[in-house]
């Protein structure tokens, strides 16, 4: 099963490398927005420990939103591959349906970690905030966030009956999750009940992970509870997506 997963993963990576639109949407657009939001919020003029927290909020929040878009679009490509007859070809071979799920999931993790780290590195360059000295913990937080976003994309694709429904549903969910999870502004600005709701979103726990990874001092112990929540969300999303893959209409 592993060679089959790697063959499909390699295909997605080659495709991504060649697709200029994906490259622009994954890196250039969020980079521009992070720069803009940093300027609006006076990040380059800020001083003291609050500066790192603000950078984490702006870079992490906007990066998460675009990561969700990138990974949900990637998951939606499942419908295109199905309609091309590619699933029929793949599944006439000696591989289970789940190779398609796992290959897309791993691709999402790879893309997500790459996108988040590049955007944090860009943030360091733009705003002279020392982010990459926290690299091991930051990478761990990025990995957990990317896994949760990737599995969320798989879940939406597995639940949607068609690519049109998947696109509409995913845009709605991403915007709600981003707003509620604190991607656009700190959740401290929200009413109390919304702050509680925020804790149900993967965006909140991802942003929390970035904040704790970039805090001084930052420790794995402080990061672990958030990673566990993201890990739990990933497991639940993937389990439901896997069940739908086995029984749903994606392969009908």
């Amino acid at each position: 099963m592993l060679p089959a997963i790697l063959a499909l993963l390699r295909k997605d990576l080659v495709h991504f490398r060649r697709d200029r639109a994906s490259l622009i949407l994954t890196f250039a657009v969020p980079f521009s927005l992070i720069y803009l939001m940093g300027q609006v919020n006076g990040l380059s003029r800020a001083h003291g420990p609050g500066r790192t927290a603000a950078a984490s909020q702006i870079i992490g929040g906007w990066a998460m939103q675009f990561l969700l878009f990138a990974l949900v679009w990637s998951a939606n490509s499942l419908f295109i591959e199905r309609d091309l007859g590619i699933f029929q070809r793949i599944l006439s071979g000696p591989v289970p349906r789940s190779v398609i799920l796992w290959s897309k999931f791993l691709y999402g993790i790879f893309l997500g970690v790459l996108q988040l780290l590049i955007l944090f590195a860009a943030g360091q360059l733009l705003f002279q905030v020392n982010l990459l000295s926290h690299l091991p913990l930051l990478a761990l937080a990025c990995l957990a966030a990317a896994a949760a976003c990737s599995s969320f994309g798989m879940l939406l694709a597995a639940l949607s009956p068609s690519v049109e429904v998947a696109r509409g549903l995913s845009t709605f969910c991403i915007l709600v999750l981003s707003a509620l999870g604190g991607a656009w502004f700190p959740i401290a600005f929200m009413p109390g009940f919304m702050q509680h709701l925020s804790r149900l979103t993967l965006v909140f726990w991802s942003a929390e992970g970035f904040r704790l990874a970039l805090a001084t001092p930052s420790t794995l112990a402080a990061l672990l509870p958030g990673l566990e929540v993201l890990g739990g969300m990933t497991a639940v999303f993937l389990a439901v997506a896997w069940l739908r893959f086995e029984r749903g209409k994606l392969f009908a």
Binding site: P3, A4, A7, V14, D19, L84, R89, S92, G93
Partner: protein
């Protein structure tokens, strides 16, 4: 003690499939021998693609069983013996021809040098070596169809399932596909070829099943299928005001059907051709309008279903 007989390459036993209220396959039973070039002939919507999807293990039958070399089609060991050429162009348009073959070869566990060599060999076989590094989206329809077949052959399957592999291709590519499939079959691969082109089925296949509404209506060699017809020849003449009267006069003398601007008259047993031409002369229909032909598979289909194959 003689060795046990080899199981058929493919077997269906009462295989049925429904999609909601639609019966796509209604209890089909069929054996296809190893090395056979077997044709599935029927109009669009007859159940050919459903049958292919059951044979390939992509879908499970609602009833009955599907065996590949004696094993259930859903088993990985059975699927390793199969190569599927889907009706759609199941290729990644943004990848090159070689990259496509490497992806699909990887799904069958091929790797490294073995995979690269096999991909090159197949690109050569389908005459695409010179475009190996071009994105598939830049290919003509015929080139894509050829690559679609190559992608099914990477793991040297014992059974090749071709679901309408020549739809929309130019005659040159079509002939290249026929040559390739013929060569593969001569090397011992069982080829199952579904089509709604009777000329293709008659030209390529040693045995043909005529299928419609999810049922096999007839099965045999072209000659055996022709023997099901109660007539030896078919007279074709154009639809016109002049021939309408002749058609009325022929009532009861045989089977008469009309499709694509042509009347087709198939005389009943004992009906003399001279009687036909006498009737034509009475109606003053010139004899140059008539064309007498040996009946084709289409006539068999028409005889069995009462409708033309392309309707």
């Amino acid at each position: 003690m003689p060795p046990p007989p080899e199981p058929p390459a493919l077997s269906l036993r009462g295989a049925a499939k429904r999609y909601g209220a639609l019966t796509a396959l209604a209890g089909v039973s069929l054996d296809i021998a190893a090395g056979e070039y077997f044709g599935l002939l029927g109009p669009n919507g007859a159940g050919k693609s459903t049958l292919m999807s059951l044979l390939s293990g992509f879908r499970a039958p609602d009833a009955g069983e599907v065996l590949v070399g004696g094993r259930a089609a859903a088993e990985p060991a059975a699927r390793r013996q199969l190569g599927l050429v889907p009706q759609g162009l199941a290729l990644y348009p943004d990848l090159t021809a070689r990259e496509n073959l490497e992806v699909f070869g990887g799904l069958h566990g091929l790797r490294g040098r073995r995979l690269r060599e096999r991909a090159e060999e197949l690109l050569e076989a389908v005459q695409l070596s010179h475009r190996a590094r071009s994105a598939v989206k830049t290919f003509s329809g015929g080139m894509m169809r050829r690559l679609n077949i190559a992608a099914a052959l990477l793991h040297r399957p014992r059974v090749l399932l071709c679901d309408e592999p020549t739809v929309g291709v130019d005659p040159q590519s079509r002939n290249a596909i026929f040559d390739l499939l013929g060569r593969i079959q001569r090397e011992g691969t069982t080829v199952v070829y579904s089509t709604h082109y009777m000329e293709e089925a008659a030209r390529l296949c040693s045995r043909i099943a005529i299928i419609d509404h999810g049922r096999i209506l007839a099965l045999g060699t072209v000659d055996q299928l022709m023997q099901r017809l109660p007539f030896d020849e078919e007279i074709r003449f154009p639809v016109s005001a002049a021939t309408d009267g002749l058609c009325r006069d022929l009532g009861g003398a045989g089977e008469l059907s009309t499709a694509e601007g042509l009347h087709r008259f198939r005389p009943a047993a004992g009906f003399r051709l001279s009687s036909f031409f006498l009737a034509a002369e009475r109606r003053e229909v010139p004899s140059r309008l008539f064309e007498i032909q040996r009946p084709t598979l289409e006539a068999v289909f028409l005889h069995l279903t009462g409708k033309a194959l392309r309707q």
